[in-house]
Structure formats: C-alpha cells, structure tokens
C-alpha cells in the first residue's frame, strides 16, 4: 500500500493496542452517563457558565486557539470520561461552538472561529447547488412553455445554393 507523506505513521496506535485491557474496562466501553442531547447539554452548560471556566476559555481564545478545536476537545474528553457517547458528542458540538463564541462575544475579544478555513467543496453543498439549479431550470422551462406561438417571429429561410435546390 502506498504510504502518504502527510501521515506520520509513528503516531498511530500499535495494532492490538485497544485489546490490552478487558472489554468494558475503559469508560467509553460502558454505557454513557448521559444518553440524550439534553442531558449532555445539562452537563456542559453550567460548567461553561462558571466564572473560572469561562475565564479560562477567554484566555485560550485570546491565545488564538480556534473555537472548533476547543469544542471538539471538550466533547472528546466527555466521551473518554464516559459521560456521553460519540454520537451525542457529535450532535452537541455545534451547540458547544455557539456557546464558546457567545462567551467570546460577551467578553468582546477577537477570536478565531475555525470555520473560515474550511472552504472545501463538500457533497452537501454540491447537492444544495444542484437542487437550486434544478429548481431554476424548471422555472425557466415553465416560462418558455407559456410563451404563445403567435408572438414568435417568422425566421427568414436560408437560401440554399446547391444545384438541386428548389427555385421559386
């Protein structure tokens, strides 16, 4: 298999590393503490509102750490502690991003959201563009069908100059 240059192979876990403990010994292998989105948010929101935590968040944002990285780190830590599942973590990530940006806006600091640099064309945006194009094409087609035939100008016939062409 071709080795890619941008992947550092030595950072990857050793094969079988996940099997070095008994199944269920890790927190994320047992049922999560908070099963739903609301329960997980009830865990995070009071913590983010605490003065000490919000001050730390402001410090980290002022250092230039993107909001998205901070939110992802928070939810990953929650998964590792067995607070919630990865699915719930993915679902609450946008809420965490917005809450952290709210803290940054309230403190009136300049922060990096981390949303600006991701300008790759993704399948969902392509789908949206295709749907919009189809709708516009359908509208244009309907408009063309509505034009009455009487209004169409008679196009002058091109004269053919062949030997067998009919002369009037």
């Amino acid at each position: 298999m071709e080795q890619r240059d941008d992947v550092i192979s030595f950072d990857a876990p050793i094969p079988g590393m996940s099997l070095t403990h008994e199944l269920g010994a890790r927190p994320w292998q047992s049922p999560p503490q908070y099963a739903s989105v609301e329960e997980a948010l009830d865990y995070y929101i009071p913590r983010l509102q605490a003065t000490e935590v919000s001050e730390q968040i402001i410090d980290v944002l002022e250092m230039g750490v993107p909001v998205t990285n901070l939110a992802d780190t928070m939810q990953t830590a929650g998964v590792l502690e067995g607070k919630h599942s990865i699915d719930v973590g993915m679902l609450i990530t946008p809420v965490l991003i917005e809450l952290i940006m709210l803290i940054g806006d309230a403190a009136k600091i300049d922060y990096t959201s981390g949303l600006e640099k991701d300008k790759r064309i993704r399948s969902s945006s392509v789908d949206a563009a295709v749907a919009k194009f189809k709708a516009e094409a359908k509208e244009n087609k309907d408009e063309e069908e509505e034009v009455p035939a009487e209004n169409m100008e008679e196009m002058p016939e091109e004269r053919t100059g062949g030997l067998m062409s009919r002369s009037k």
Binding site: E38, T93, S124
Partner: protein, 75 residues
Amino acid sequence: MPLTNPAPVVHQNLQMAIKQKQESTKPAAPRKGLLSSAKQADRSEQDDILNPSRRVASYVEIIMQKREEMKNGTA
C-alpha cells in the same frame, strides 16, 4: 488527508440544514374540506421534536439569535 477535527464540518452542515429549512418553510393554506387531514401539521412538529438533530438546530438558532442581539446591542 485524515479528518482530525470534524467540528467545522458538523457546524457547517447544521447551518446549511437550518438555511434550507427556513427556505422550504412556507405557510400552507388551511384545508377545510371534510376529507382533509388535520394531523399532517402535527406530524411534522412531532418529527421536529423527536429528531435530536432538529432539536440541536433549534438550540443553535436560539444561541445565534442571542449572539446577534448582543452584537447589535439590542440585548
């Protein structure tokens, strides 16, 4: 390149879903016929409540509104 931080993609997808929902939401004319189903509107509201991603979208919308109000100085 491996995806190390899915947060921006998740956030952008949710933003797009919110925009599409806002565009597609049109006030439907009330049907008053004997055979019209009154449960159709209730069903879509129930779907919104049951689907966690839609609930999250509503939470994000609320927080975004508050942020906008804070930026504009209306809050």
